[in-house]
Symmetry: C2
Subunit: 310 residues, 2 copies
């Protein structure tokens, strides 16, 4: 049995996956603050799942949000305050008394979607997770890409506009300022401040309270201003996908993360913008655009798969 835990900013989701790739047990716990508390929570969750299914035969993997080295050290994570340079692999392995493989959560997600979800059977897959920020993972020529340090596929801070808005990372015009869930909310607030999006503002209670979910719901109802916000998002998402097409030449993109639930609303706009943005689109097959199939479990399932192969 393969045990995987996906650590998010608010909750830890654990799964047990059998040899056929079927999830046979699921559990979750709130994400605590601090490295010792995190270790206790992650390992407690993993142990509970493994004990249901046979601890001695279990393998263990954990996905963390942030930059993780090939050796399982979390160097930084905007979603886990106070956790930097944390040797998570060593801490988890020591607590469980078994090897625990640790990597980035989006790396886990692409592994899961490639083996069991939207990327099945495809040798070149680039996954984008669209949440608060943008995460990414790459299957290149049939292999999970890690990079020299373990940081490959971190697309959120790809610069796509040197005159764009400043980013907490210190640069300007990073992709995730344009094409993430928080970017949708930000663009909506900008338009609302100009007097647009009245219905969304009314529903939110104030401009500041606008969320990407409210914008998506309004667009689904046909609200023209909300559609405009999602078209802006789709334009910039496409610009980044075009750049990644030049870099990786994927057969397909898999889009996941919270915002992928809005796919029915923005998918037609996205396809149009991608077709216009991809280089030499008349001379090459277009990369397919697919949406993630494993939902919120992708990270945990991928962590389980990652743990089994390390």
């Amino acid at each position: 049995m393969k045990i995987g835990v996906d650590v998010g900013g608010t909750k830890c989701l654990g799964v047990a996956v059998d040899t056929d790739g079927v999830v046979v047990a699921v559990d979750r716990r709130p994400t605590p603050h601090g490295t010792e508390e995190l270790t206790a929570t992650v390992c407690g969750l993993a142990r509970a799942l493994a004990e249901q299914t046979g601890f001695d035969e279990a393998t263990f993997g954990v996905g963390l949000p942030g930059s993780i080295t090939r050796h399982g050290v979390l160097t930084s994570s905007p979603h886990l305050p106070g956790v930097t340079n944390f040797d998570a692999g060593a801490a988890f392995s020591s607590d469980l008394g078994r090897p625990v493989a640790v990597t980035n959560d989006a790396t886990c997600a692409v592994l899961a979607e490639w083996h069991l979800g939207a990327g099945r059977g495809v040798d070149n897959v680039v996954m984008i997770t669209m949440g608060t920020g943008i995460g990414g993972g790459v299957i290149a020529d049939g292999m999970l890409l890690l990079g020299a340090n373990g940081y490959a596929g971190e697309f959120g801070h790809m610069m796509i506009d040197p005159n764009g808005p400043s980013c907490p990372c210190g640069q300007r015009g990073c992709w995730e300022r344009y094409a993430s869930g928080s970017a949708v909310a930000l663009e909506a607030k900008r338009l609302a401040a100009d007097g647009m999006l009245e219905a969304v503002v009314a529903q939110a209670g104030s401009i500041e309270a606008i969320t990407s979910e409210l914008v998506v719901a309004a667009a689904a109802r046909g609200d023209a201003d909300a559609v405009k916000v999602l078209d802006h998002f789709a334009y910039w998402m496409a610009a980044g996908l075009a750049n990644l097409t030049n870099a990786f030449d994927p057969a397909c993109f898999v889009l996941g993360g919270g915002l992928s639930e809005a796919a029915p609303v923005f998918e037609p706009m996205l396809r149009q913008h991608v077709a216009a943005a991809v280089y030499a689109s008349n001379l090459r097959p277009q990369p397919e655009i697919r949406f993630a199939e494993l939902g919120e479990r992708a990270g945990a399932i991928g962590a389980a798969l990652y743990g089994a192969t390390r």
Copy 2:
């Protein structure tokens, strides 16, 4: 013996490489127009080299400028007018009566630099060839990256400024409009039109006749305007390298192509801009910047290596 031919816009360069990676024969011929003429020239060159060293034991590889599929079809090439959708692999194999593996010239260059040049011993290498445009090749986790269609690593049309100059490809703000040899000449012409770069204009004879070589030579002499042009180039080169660092997490970049001969002049500026542009540079090892070691032979040597492994 491994025979490799690198087809450029003006000349075809052929090499014979022995099992120790030593180049034991070199030959060159002008690049003709038309697919039949190209086939005769490439295969004539390859045959002549193979006959010097033992035709029956030879393997054959060819690097072409442009987009080449995994199956050796050249779909388009700005440098070979009139050659589109040319099944080069089939044509060359048929002419020689032996299998010939065909791929992109920058893909060949990274293979050569990885095995025998500046990228020796490094598992994650991204090569940039800085010529008229920008070409690229990637070694990812110890493997030559081809992508779904064979087009991985074509970085020249990565969009880095949505408000940038228009590109013949139909997009705006492509990287090669900022960070190639022709971009250096273009920026110099722009400054010259504003009355700057007097010495370079005098040397060139006219603004239109300015070349990147003249700008580099002037910068090497300490011409402040020419240094400004190269600093502009270095800034944008760094912006692209930072994006590729997020995507591939390479241990090192290898910069090649004609403009790499100007490395002594722009290297300090480039290093400064890269350090400022790379995401989370305080938390991760910086990718190394190296310059190609195999010079103009890199493409032909890489073609020979590519032919031997297919």
